[in-house]
Symmetry: C2
Subunit: 426 residues, 2 copies
Amino acid sequence: MKPYRELNHEELKKEYAAVRAEYDALKAQGLALDMSRGKPGKAQLDLVSDMLTVLQSPEDCRDGKMDVRNYGELAGIPSARALFADILGCRPEECFIGGSASLQLMYDLIAKAYTHGLLHSEQPWCRLEKVRWLCPAPGYDRHFRVTETFGFELITVPMTPEGPDMDCVEELVKDPAVKGIWCVPKYSNPDGIIYSEETVRRLASLKPAAPDFALMWDNAYCVHEFFGEFVPFDDILTLCREAGNPDMVYEFASTSKITFPGAGISVMAASEANQKYLQKLIGCQIISYDKVNQLRHVRYLKDKAHTLELMKKHAAILGPKFAAVLDALEAEIAPLGIAHWQKPKGGYFVSLFTMPGLATRTLALCKEAGVTMTGPGATYPYGKDPEDSNIRIAPSLPPADELAAATKVFCKALRLATLEQMLADK
Amino acid sequence: MKPYRELNHEELKKEYAAVRAEYDALKAQGLALDMSRGKPGKAQLDLVSDMLTVLQSPEDCRDGKMDVRNYGELAGIPSARALFADILGCRPEECFIGGSASLQLMYDLIAKAYTHGLLHSEQPWCRLEKVRWLCPAPGYDRHFRVTETFGFELITVPMTPEGPDMDCVEELVKDPAVKGIWCVPKYSNPDGIIYSEETVRRLASLKPAAPDFALMWDNAYCVHEFFGEFVPFDDILTLCREAGNPDMVYEFASTSKITFPGAGISVMAASEANQKYLQKLIGCQIISYDKVNQLRHVRYLKDKAHTLELMKKHAAILGPKFAAVLDALEAEIAPLGIAHWQKPKGGYFVSLFTMPGLATRTLALCKEAGVTMTGPGATYPYGKDPEDSNIRIAPSLPPADELAAATKVFCKALRLATLEQMLADK
């Protein structure tokens, strides 16, 4: 197979006819496949069924002296705070335990910055003329939407294979209207990039003009390897403290992709000064998140080491799915020179870049053939990919056979879209 | 026993000495008792232990076609929406299911009014010069604190035995800055008053100047009788719709005092137009609340009729506790003519009014003798009881023997505080 750019017009036309025929044949199968979101598959959910019955009696529902069934303990039960501290490398006192969605903790933090201000805010952000926010992109659509819904101006920061472009970030934070940045430091959504040590150090050492700049550290995939061994990471709270920025960082994680996506627990880790300030505000909002479910998780997951054992079982299910996608891309697309992508070893996505202007058309062709993918532009602020090039592939949900079929459709759609454009250009 | 007002100075001094001796004897016991919050006691929590294991396998975790373990279904699982619709008398489509705290749903609604505005808002409330809020008092401290934390001006509305003083409410809502009211329509916190049919009708028919006025209908004790039969109530959403106010009302309830206070589920019922508007905003905040716990509740509670059976069991535990308090007040305090109180048949509190200026002193004397009660003023906006008279008694948590001891302390403290003042006045 030759790279498409080396084909002449006749060869391109011939290739187009061949790919079109293959695509039409797949389309005729009337598929209905979903690779749109990072949803774990049924086999992964079944892994953790024992958690359902880990608490059976009133006696089981005690965490030390506390009866977790009753009201109280705003920040979460001590053992759950200790569990997340173990996983993240921070201190239990720095952990606030939330409900099934870390997204809610992130949203609520931004909401409180907007309505009340953060610890070092001069005033609530709703009183400011303008709030700007840094969005390394491609990134996570739900992050971008949180800051968009509060009317912040989203500023795209390019991603590099080492993480956000730090020269760019360091320049932008000189603007006092820039109030924060979204980061997914390990297996970034969607590229699957692990921020380099240098990038993490520079982020922890930022000197933003805004005294209440928020480093939103969404460690969503902190223990989520699907190929190879666990990759350790430094505690960002410690790094920020050592760099003289103890209150700048808010770290988030959850068990959504460890136990049940629809019934996990989450954490916001932040300095004790931040915890004190925020818990006073959060105390007006809730009495505590679900403490019985916190204890269920503690009894089931036990500690970091035991959690990593469970993650190996997830990897045994997820690894082959990612391999199927990456192998198909390597075999069918790589030789054609029409796209590039990272080869992640963890996280939930493969992020592919088409030639400029082809993401929308590729995804439309996928849809036409019954394969739903994340919509075009979703990985960029305001849902607008300036190059119309990035496509997020989420291989976790479909069973192996469906995944193979969906990937086949995707490869044909990508080739077809590329050929259409090349033929139109000639 | 004669009413204190009929005693002469010498008799008062004698009575003081006698009560002081009794109080000192109780104090010497070194008690550490808590009647401060409406927390269910251990026996109530033990009632529902079977819920812990009602879901055991992957197959158990399906609600119709939906796997509740995975992401999705923002408004909650259909069967949970149907359960609350059955209990509240509204439609399933009008129910949004939350986590363990209905307080969070209330807070989040007010927060969204503040940051984004409600369905009929002309602008977000954070853009307004002034927001005023009606607080029938005595009322629930956590309600008042939600509206206080957003800087609203809290306006006290007197409570009558029929509910909020409606002449007052109807007058106040003519002010377009008045944006809402807190209501606990059944067994109001703390008085235990059931709003009369007339009061409910007038509330549903309000014609507020503000187009986005919010009738916050916290039906926290909707099935929470502890004496006698279930008292039915009309669906407030229907009443508001019929009165031409379909989008004015937001109703809240939870299972906090049905199953586990620390691990229940909650609901916000509102018109379908409100649901559509709000879910678009809530969709930026969460993916869904814990759906496994929603299904646990559905399987365990089944429906309204079955829930009412469970409430009978709670009543069997709570009824004697309330009887102990009410009987002690009747026997020891009523003849003295030094306080008055409602005699509720449901809810979680007894609300007592001392002679003006004595609540703080009475509670200090309680504390000195090792009995913690809700702090003085807690039932009024800004924590300030203008008469320093209302005391909220929460008999649910202590076991029977502790409750008897605590009530004894309370009665002595109340008598002592009253005598101190009467002697000082003479």
